[in-house]
Symmetry: none
Subunit: 213 residues, 4 copies
């Protein structure tokens, strides 16, 4: 594999700093997590965006959260067709193997993926319509949501929130999710992070709207 | 969406702690990242496992790394068939839109996904063979790698490292990755984290083996 | 320019080592920083002293910090008189052009410049009082701080910390600094590095004293 | 000093990583440097730019280099008028107190300060002409150099190199520099770093031109 390069020094240094501090302080706990396996309390589904590290926002310590991150924190609908569905695999593992008590879908402001979908829906992104555009095809999951937000005052923000609702609705199409929710073994949550001001709104089931917490 | 629940209090507390500390300390920078957009230096592809937070290990601060996390840090081969490929979408966005300089694939010890694949390959996991098993179908990506490790002394560890090699090889099947690597605009790296002792090994291109760093 | 000499071999070797390692590992990122310009998160004002490299202490990688180093990490008061003020120019560029989110003033133990000022204040350094002494005139910036520390048990250390306070107070006399601080676009910090034991204390706004971190 | 903030956590983490690694490995040497004082071999005069850390390029370890960094690595002419001259103070301290054997002026490509001066010289930067512009007044040091480069093919690069020559010529106007050079106790050097490709050229006294090393 001659195309691979050694780990860059700046990452080696970061690792060594972690090893000598956070790891050193917690080595007993880390060893125990290794021996006994993980037992995370919640699954978090968040965006890959470098500005939204849920490990920071929710102070995720080792062993607490099972975290899936993809473009625009989307969950596709249940489709057991034998093809590869990375997000569905993560949800299945979290719910059936790890039996997490919560799934939290975390969206955020200024989401590049959601903006791309908005551009597609409004005819401004022919390159994303291309069959070979992975980002375009991935964002198709959100496409049906455009109807609900097309008259919104702030369309990007409304669409980001619709992406969270879409993921939550799609989660409920998974039989094992629906069953665990019905049995009160699992609860689902949606939050939206405003990245400039560090705001957090959650989807309030009473009003079906997002509200600051 | 009556099946959704408000954000649990323990997460509200965590958020408020973050807001009052890390956010408050860095609000000017966060605002600027919001206004000017992200410019991450590297993409990291890691596992969802709650014991392997690359944000800790590499001290990832806001804006530095674009992070995709899925089961067993796998990248499927390039397959532009118009279906939804969340991992491929994340790679495409990182390389073509964000133009990251590095992609680091981070594997780890005691990986449940890799263990499941090993169980499938050795006939111990009929439930994962099922057409409807998302985890099983997802882990099929790694299946061809079994040949290379079936006689290893420590099969789980060898398979975890083979998963990293598989992802790196598959990354190179993406035309835009191959092109960026050839143009020296992108470099690929593989590391394996031993979670009990906090160890880190990287794939050394000189020997094609993993070596402690 | 017959008085100039070629670069000494020991520096050529150092450079070639860097080129073959750190540069080679990060060439894509360095090219991108060249093309798109720098976007440093913080300005650091530190001493020229060879024992206090803030690039080491804060692991500063390319592109992260805008660094001004002068004798005793001093910032003079705002004085827009049309004369040359190198430190004021650096602060102006960092705040108004680069819009850094933080300015960190880093002082240190055993500072030769501060010791010189102490000697002047106590009549032991007539040569520094001379009109033509650049070090003496530069250290005049700190001179008014002597009153606050003249009865301290450890006068050099107290004066080094007073130098940090003086710089921070002087920074606030620059209208663009004061405005950015008021708008919460910029925050100011003071730290003191004990070089023998590798200690770091920061100025705690709650107590107005330096405290170990 | 209620306007000061505690050190941000990301810098605390960086420091703790350094303390536990680089400091821990070298504590005996650091203690000795603290007790016996610094004895740097060279002074380096470099730019504040976040993309040009001479500590990286020349692998500067603790105690080796006395480093002054200002906008555009400029040295003003000798002017013992009793005013504050931070750069002159740094030069004076390096040559007369530390008795360094070398002064290396390090310029670089894409220098924002030099570009600003070019804009002034060509009438495109009235804001820098303002009496109150610290950057403008500081860059006045380079202004006389415009004549020599105004017909160059690549004016920014030619001006960056002229800035290095200007600093070297100005260094020789300091009596203590001139005397140390004449006594062969000090040698002066000029280098220019091309930041995209990691290139380094030095001023060759034989030709008075910059040449790759």
């Amino acid at each position: 594999m001659e195309f691979v390069r050694p780990l860059p020094t700046f990452l080696v240094q970061r690792f060594q700093g972690w090893k000598a501090t956070a790891y050193a302080e917690n080595s007993a706990w880390y060893r125990r997590l290794a021996t006994e396996g993980q037992r995370p309390r919640a699954m978090i589904i968040a965006c890959c965006d470098s500005r939204v590290h849920v490990t920071s926002i929710f102070g995720a310590d080792q062993g607490e959260f099972f975290i899936h991150r993809n473009i625009a924190n989307l969950v596709p609908p249940y489709e057991p067709d034998g093809n590869q569905h990375g997000t569905s695999a993560a949800v299945e593992y979290a719910v059936t193997a790890l039996k997490v008590a919560h799934i939290v879908v975390v969206g955020h402001s200024r989401c590049g993926g959601v903006q791309g979908c908005l551009d597609m829906c409004e005819g401004r992104a022919p390159e994303l319509e291309d069959q070979t555009s992975f980002v375009g095809r991935w964002m198709d999951i959100l496409r049906p949501g455009y109807e609900a937000i097309k008259d919104a005052e702030n369309k990007p923000e409304a669409f980001e929130k619709e992406a969270i609702r879409t993921s939550l609705r799609n989660l409920m199409t998974f039989p094992f999710v629906e069953k665990a929710v019905a049995a009160r073994q699992l609860s689902l949550h949606g939050v939206w992070n405003e990245i400039a001001e560090g705001g957090l709104e959650h989807l309030d089931p009473a009003t079906d709207e997002f509200a600051a917490i």
